[in-house]
Amino acid sequence: MIRRFAQRAFIFFSVLLINSTAIAQPDGKALFTSNCASCHHPVKKSTGPALQGVDGRVPSKEWLHKWVRNSAGMIASGDEYAQKIYNEYNKTAMTAFPNLTDEEIDAIVGYVNSYKAPTTAVPAGGGATAPKEDNTWLYGVLTGILFLLGVILWRVNSGLRRAAHQKEGIPTEDEIPLYRNKVVIALTCIVVFIFCGYWIVNGAIEMGRQQNYQPEQPIFYSHKVHAGINQVNCLYCHAGAEKSRQAMIPSANVCMNCHMQINEYTSEETHPLYTAEGVKVNGTEEIKKLYDYAGWDEKTGTYKRKPNGEIDSRPIPWTKIHNLADHVYFNHSQHVAVGKVQCQQCHGDIQNMDEVYQFSPLSMGWCINCHRQTKVQFESNNYYSIFEKYHKELKSGEREGVTVEDIGGLECQRCHY
């Protein structure tokens, strides 16, 4: 009896033990993330090849185990497949992982083969929001019809009245035509004068200002996708904004920092791209345009080189949007680094613009207005340490704040020299 019980207990515990070893099998995903993911992706080509189906491609399972533990040794030994893969990936040596066991490597392969690319949930109704329809023409037609109706009624009314007068024998005055009616002429003159005056003055002031200017760019670069959805900081690309006069238009190598890896536009469902005219844009095609300018060969994952070794790239001919007149000096670093002005204050809601337009008028009145109202950040800002009088007054409470105007922000020579 006792013996039988012991036997059963033994079986029970051995089953438990086997089960627990099954549970303790190496976690392929964790191993992949910590060891492989910086150079490999299951389905995308990265520094190394995409790993899905790797066990079917390589000569044998043992070959793969050996390769992972010591790839450099296999290349040196003259293994054919090893040399082929080494040359295909620009002779980038794979880090050796001597500590990975056969089971762990198999677990990684198992995870990679079972990997499915995350599918972005498509919102109900397709999510593709076409630009809103413009209804103003409808209102225009309605107003026109109402106006016409009014005129017809008025003519009918006066015609009827004249007929009635004739019947009753009351003498009728000759109706003066509208264009000779003095009141009508006077009213028309005043209205025309006001409207034309408004048009002329406004047009004359606005001429030379380019507010809302939204040129078509050589590449459909969406600030909304980059600065909004993907949270790239403005300064990442426009690093010069706090260092120099120019905010810096990023050179293609800055784009390639991310786009070496990101070669397709994947947010088509959640954020489809449209030009201001409502024409659909293919984001992936736009990235291909960048590759063309940057001299990037997508197939080999390297830059195309000229015979002298330089990268075969050419500058992207962006169209300048903010044309501040040449007789005005403006310095980005003065405003961004010293004045701590946010980009959006002058450039508007840039993280929500697919195509950028000029948000501010960039007129002198606009500059001056801001210089009058904006208080300079005086505290803990060494740049203004020489304004000792203001510092004293601030300390004694005599003065609430220092505006840009107070430190000479309205002097002509500040900007015109």
Binding site: F195, C196, W199, S385
Partner: protein, 219 residues
């Protein structure tokens, strides 16, 4: 009467003409300007097309062998010389204010991939769900925890694998500031002791304008 009429018509036409220069909310055309030679620079401005150079660019690289005022002396690393990277280091030391600034720079230029927690999980990677397929280095574990400072510096300067070069965005001092910041955080996470601290770590921020002139005098 005719005269009045013609005045009215002329005014209308001028008004329409002027408003046509600035019409609508969306405009693909920059419009007319009064004095183009005062608005558009006659000299070659930054980023303008320049016919005098084969690559057509007006912004030129600094003359070889020159150093801009207030900038660090150049390093003499060669790309690919990994042995030299490992032993390379700097004499620069950073106080608390510098490290605070370094964190700000790190968050802008590195945090987008490597994460603001330095855990290799920035918004672009987002645990493998993001746009960036390759996993950025996690500075808090593995080989990266005790990676030599010079090697991190070289990675910033030349790029590494799928990371591009940041030399055009970060000047030499900023690169070292970022390295120091990473090393400081690593030292707080079981990494080697932090060695880039300035002796007086609590000194208040100095007048940068004065420091600059001193640095210029030194060069």
């Amino acid at each position: 009467m005719n005269r009045t009429k013609s005045i009215v018509v002329a005014t209308l036409l001028v008004g329409l003409g002027l408003t046509a220069c600035n019409s609508g909310n969306m405009r693909r055309n920059p419009g007319k300007i009064y004095a183009p030679d005062m608005t558009y620079s006659q000299a070659y401005d930054a980023y303008t097309y320049n016919p005098n150079f084969a690559d057509s660019m007006s912004s030129r690289k600094p003359v070889e062998g020159t150093i801009a005022m207030g900038h660090e002396l150049p390093d003499h690393l060669k790309e690919g010389d990994t042995l030299a990277y490992k032993s390379y280091t700097t004499a620069l030391r950073f106080n608390d204010a510098d490290i605070k600034e370094a964190k700000r720079i790190y968050d802008i230029y590195c945090g987008i991939c490597h994460g603001q927690q330095l855990d290799g999980n920035g918004p672009l990677y987002a645990g493998g769900e993001g746009k960036f397929a390759a996993k950025p280095a996690n500075f808090k574990e593995g080989n990266y925890l005790n990676m030599p400072a010079g090697q991190i510096y070289a990675a910033i300067k030349y790029g590494k694998n799928k990371m591009g070069s940041y030399a055009s965005q970060l000047d030499i001092k900023q690169r070292w500031m970022i390295v120091a910041y990473i090393k400081k955080v690593q030292s707080e996470n079981n990494g080697a002791a932090y060695t880039f601290g300035a002796s007086g770590t609590t000194t208040p921020a100095v007048d940068t304008t004065k420091v600059d002139s001193a640095a210029v005098a030194k060069h």
